[in-house]
């Protein structure tokens, strides 16, 4: 321990004498460490954001989407087939057929709708929904009321606005009871939803307008097809049962015998969470590995400078051996120097990476998350880099013959 402290003081003294060289030597490690830290922080932030958004969709959720349509021999994307209908929604709502389904909601949407109030306008996504949509999606009202069953039955032109739409059209004044124009059709605002605070989700609830599904189908889509059906199971433990019930109902409704030929997909929230989690994890690992390459490059830089340093200090090594330094003394001395260099690079890299994380958070409003694990990982990797790339120069120094080293010019 006493000797280790001596070697650490030797290393600091040497580095202190060659500050610029030491700084240039560790730049590779600084960049490598900062890259790893930032990639992991961005990856963790992205993952948390995606998972948060999926969670915000609701709880114990099943998402039923239409299957893929075909155009000639070309298979189109998921959800392009017109296979879900009001009849499917009604069947799933039947408690006898689907006892494990707590809530079910149908929705259809259309983007690019021009919403106008007096001289203000906003281009929004219009959603035709059933009342339980708000329950399943945990959307609450800041003011006014929800879309009700009575609205659906009577076909009232009632609308609920997302928070951003309400602000754009009405500013700080109340929107409730006011009439807005949606692509030439007049609707009365009955409610304004609370902001969900989402800025980069798949669906930004704040820029949506919700109207009764019956009105949407009559005025905007002109058919009985649905974009999706959302189902909330009675509990987390009945998710599979609910999924099976829903699948069977739809197979029966669509007269399909084999589930493999289904013209719809039933995806559970857990599946989406798992898939999204895997994707973000793989991306994070991939990008961290790429960033890690710069650590290796930095390590090679360290080895290069350490080799130069050994050559420069050959006479000094000879002297130290002459006055009593053992092979292990010289080996440890140089190894400690290499580790201190890379570890210092690691610490500066963490600080630099942290500043970049703050910059990303402040400027891009993206929740990059700097985890203690990524800091520990980066610092550990920087130490390991110091050991690996310092080992050869240190070994070379320790093996020098004292006589030959003293004669070196």
């Amino acid at each position: 321990m006493k000797k280790l402290l001596i070697y650490i003081s030797f290393a600091f003294r040497y580095i202190n004498n060659y500050k610029l060289r030491a700084f240039l030597t560790i730049i590779g490690i600084v960049i490598g460490t900062a890259s790893v830290i930032d990639v992991i922080a961005i990856g963790t932030g992205a993952s948390a954001s995606v998972l948060n958004q999926i969670n915000s969709l609701g709880s114990n959720l099943l998402i039923i989407s239409p299957g893929q349509a075909k155009q000639g021999s070309i298979q189109l994307g998921a959800g392009t087939l017109n296979s879900l209908t009001n009849n499917d929604f009604n069947s799933i709502e039947n408690k006898v057929l689907a006892p494990e389904v707590l809530y079910v909601s149908a929705s259809s949407s259309k983007g690019g709708i021009n919403a106008i109030y007096k001289s203000n306008n906003s281009v929004v996504t219009l959603n035709g929904i059933t009342p339980s949509f708000f329950v399943i999606r945990n959307i609450t009202m800041a003011s006014g009321s929800y879309i009700t069953d009575s609205d659906l039955l009577s076909g009232r032109h009632d609308a609920v606005l997302g928070a951003t739409v309400a602000t754009t059209l009405f500013g700080s004044t109340s929107a409730i009871g006011k009439e807005i124009n949606l692509n030439g059709n007049i609707f009365t605002v009955v409610g304004v939803a609370n902001s969900v605070g989402s800025s980069s989700s798949f669906v930004n609830n704040d820029t949506q307008i919700y109207i009764p599904i019956t009105v949407f189908q009559a005025m905007f889509s002109g058919n009985q097809y649905l974009n999706n059906i959302l189902v909330e199971a009675t509990s987390a433990s009945t998710m599979t049962a609910a999924q099976n019930e829903v699948t069977q109902i739809l197979l029966d409704n669509h007269h399909i015998q084999n589930v493999n030929n289904a013209d719809f997909t039933v995806t559970s929230q857990t599946q989406i969470l798992s898939t999204a989690g895997s994707i973000t994890q793989i991306l994070t690992i991939l990008l961290s590995s790429l960033a890690g390459i710069s650590l290796v490059v930095g390590g090679i830089g360290i080895m290069n400078i350490m080799l130069v340093s050994v050559t420069e200090r050959t006479k000094e090594i000879g002297l130290k051996k002459a006055v009593g330094a053992k092979v292990s003394d010289i080996l440890t001395e140089f190894l400690v120097e290499s580790i201190i260099l890379t570890f210092s690079g690691g610490i500066i890299g963490v600080a630099f990476g942290w500043l970049i994380v703050l910059f990303i958070q402040q400027v891009f409003h993206f929740s990059a998350i700097l985890s203690i694990n990524s800091v520990i990982l980066s610092l550990s990797v920087s130490i390991i880099t110091g050991i690996i790339f310092g080992l050869y120069p240190s070994f070379k120094a320790s093996k020098l013959s004292p006589l030959e080293a003293l004669k070196y010019e």
Partner: protein
């Protein structure tokens, strides 16, 4: 006490064998001041390397204070060097980025001694060699004579059995040379064994015993 028995050193360079030392027998007692003299290529540097445990002989025995050094591995040789030998080199071999005090203290780091105690001793030695006001000076700021004085203090710091000086005045002017030899003689009169390897008769005249070496063979006068 130093005893060399039948020491032979043969170098094998590119298939050619060269005998640098040929059956050297030598005994140096504690407290002696011995000068080893010889012209260039006579084998005096090889004798100095072997006496300093910096390289092993091809054959023969080197007994240093009752220890047969020919049976020791590299690490044990390092310990023996640290305990028994204080080196003074022609080119001083000081670490230029360190202070005079840090250079003197350097050999202590490779022993189990307490650094703080040895630091006091190092300051005493620097005072004795006349560098009391240069303790914290960087080596680059010292003259050649001053640098060699630092090297003398460094050679003494571990209280070695003997001091081995290789051409200690070779890089110094005559005035500095005299001063350095006076300091060395002072330590010798305190009981420290001193072996000076030189080709300069003006230096060897300070020694009480002069050993001449020619073609690897010893001729004592």
């Amino acid at each position: 006490m130093i005893t060399l028995k039948g020491i032979t050193k043969i170098y094998n360079t590119g298939g050619n064998k060269f005998t640098a030392l040929d059956n050297v027998n030598l005994e140096i007692l504690t407290g002696e001041f011995v000068s080893i003299m010889g012209p260039s290529g006579s084998g005096k540097s090889t004798l100095m390397s072997i006496l300093g445990l910096l390289e092993p002989p091809t054959s023969g025995e080197y007994i240093l204070d009752k220890t047969d050094t020919s049976k020791l591995n590299d690490n044990k040789l390092a310990v023996e060097r640290s305990k028994h030998i204080g080196f003074i080199f022609q080119s001083f071999n000081l670490i230029k980025r360190l202070s005079a005090l840090d250079n003197v203290i350097l050999p202590v780091y490779y022993t189990d001694c307490v650094i703080s105690e040895k630091k006091r001793q190092a300051i005493e030695y620097l005072n004795r060699v006349g560098l009391g006001d240069k303790i914290n000076s960087k080596i680059v700021n010292l003259s050649g004579g001053q640098q060699q004085r630092v090297a003398i203090a460094r050679a003494l710091i571990n209280n070695p059995s003997f001091i081995l000086a290789d051409e200690p005045t070779g890089n110094l002017d005559s005035k500095s040379s005299i001063e350095i030899m006076k300091i060395l003689m002072e330590f010798n009169s305190d009981g420290k064994t001193l072996i000076v390897v030189t080709h300069d008769p003006n230096i060897s005249k300070y020694a009480k015993r002069v050993i001449h070496i020619f073609d690897g063979k010893i001729q004592e006068k």
